[in-house]
């Protein structure tokens, strides 16, 4: 095997080792990577920023722990922004593994601002069948969630006074790692027409740009970069900006390996041609 062929057929363990090393570097040597903000993230930020104290909006925490590294910073920043502006938040989960995690995040941020369940926010908890739950919440929250996560009837919650369904809130921001985003677009915005923005993982983001142009979603927070942008805009920094150096270095290594592979491929082909 020639040198160029070896370059094309590196043992995958070398690649794993390189990735392993580069994701450790930012943990040892702290550095920052400049992040520019994009209009699709700004629109989500402006939507919450322009609401008045006491206004309601729905936040969907529809992801499992597997996506928390990418999506948790969005949830933190949005909840911080909302509670700091005294907005009323209705939170629901359409992912069965996400509900315990969502409750943990919510109670953490609520405690910072002294917000109380039932007065400043309502945590609905989890119900199966996302499409049906979205459709039913569009008619009446109480049909699917007669009680909140803590077992308190929705009718007795101060925060739910005058709020019957999704049409009574200013809009919906859904943070998700699965096809729940499609359901919110199809069954939520499509059927009821409320303003909708979504936060998704990096790999999913390319799928949702079409809905931005058509106006079915007014904003999009794509992956950890979107989360970092949101942190810059809102001023509530958690792990979004901190994660960018890790992602940058990992991407740089992947690109480097792609270059190495192609250099090997062309050099080997040229040599064969001779």
């Amino acid at each position: 095997m020639t040198f160029w062929e070896k370059l094309m057929n590196l043992d995958r363990r070398w690649i794993y080792l390189c990735i392993f090393i580069v994701v450790i570097i930012p943990a040892i040597i702290s550095f920052k990577v400049p992040v520019s903000t994009t209009p699709e993230v700004k629109k989500v930020f402006n939507f919450i920023d322009e609401m008045q104290p006491g206004d309601h909006f729905y936040l969907g925490i529809d992801y499992d722990p597997s996506a928390l590294a990418e999506l948790d910073p969005m949830t933190y920043a949005i909840l911080n922004q909302a509670f700091s502006k005294d907005l009323k938040v209705i939170i629901g989960c359409l992912s069965q593994f996400g509900v315990g995690m969502a409750e943990l995040r919510l109670s953490e941020v609520a405690a910072i601002y002294g917000k109380e369940s039932g007065i400043d926010y309502c945590f609905l908890g989890y119900r199966p069948y996302p499409a049906i739950v979205i459709l039913t919440m569009g008619v009446d929250f109480r049909v699917t969630f007669p009680l909140d996560y803590y077992g308190v009837p929705l009718d007795s919650l101060e925060v739910m006074n005058g709020i019957r369904n999704l049409m009574d809130v200013k809009g919906v921001v859904d943070i998700t790692a699965g096809n729940v985003a499609d359901m919110w677009i199809t069954y939520g915005n499509g059927r009821f027409g409320f303003p909708l923005a979504i936060g998704v993982t990096g790999v999913m983001s390319a799928d949702y740009y079409q809905y931005l142009q058509s106006g079915q979603i007014f904003g999009l927070i794509p992956g950890i970069k979107g989360a970092a942008e949101y942190e810059i805009l809102s001023g509530f920094e958690t792990t979004g900006l901190q994660s960018i150096p890790y992602q940058t270095l990992a991407h740089a290594v992947i690109l480097l390996f792609i270059i190495i592979s192609n250099v090997g491929y062309f050099a080997a082909r040229r040599k064969k041609g001779r």
């Binding site: 690649i15 990735i19 590294a69 069948y129």
Partner: protein
Amino acid sequence: MRKQIPIYFVLVSGIVMIIQYFVPSEESEWLFTYANDWVIVIGIYALPLGIYSLVKAEFKKLKNPGEAFYAGVLLFGYFIMVFTGLTRASREAASLHMVLFNNILIPIQATIFSLLAFYIASAAYRAFRARTILATILLLTAFIIMIRLIPLGPLSELNQWLVTKILTIPNMAAKRAITMGVGLGVIATCIKIILGIERTYLGHD
């Protein structure tokens, strides 16, 4: 008869729900909510069936020395989570159920998902080779999209502009074509199911 009755049910339900969609009245809203409640109730009946199937399969594996360990871990984890989560108090952060959830399930899921980075790196190294024109286009597109996370000084702005163009023009056009195709396919299948032409959902005798 076994097939005729479900087909009539589907025909009537399908037509009623189509009409309901276009009639904005209180009765229509009630019907819609009532039908959705039914879907949830029927779906819940599938849950015990799934649990029974899982437990039965794992108990069978316990007899096989090669699989017994993993089946044992699964069953142990399953029963622990079920029994610790039976009461409403288990939803509190300090409960055993939530401690197990936060300290075992969350790290496990996050770790497994993180491992993808290693596989993606290896797959990108092998797959992204400029063998043909189409492969070269794919390679260049992926390169431009991925490089947006790397600071390139004044070139970053140009790269961001290119990324936006790629995502909002060719990517969007392709995605829309796929979505429309899928949508038309779904409508066609729904019509076939409502009219009783498509019957595979009824199973085989």
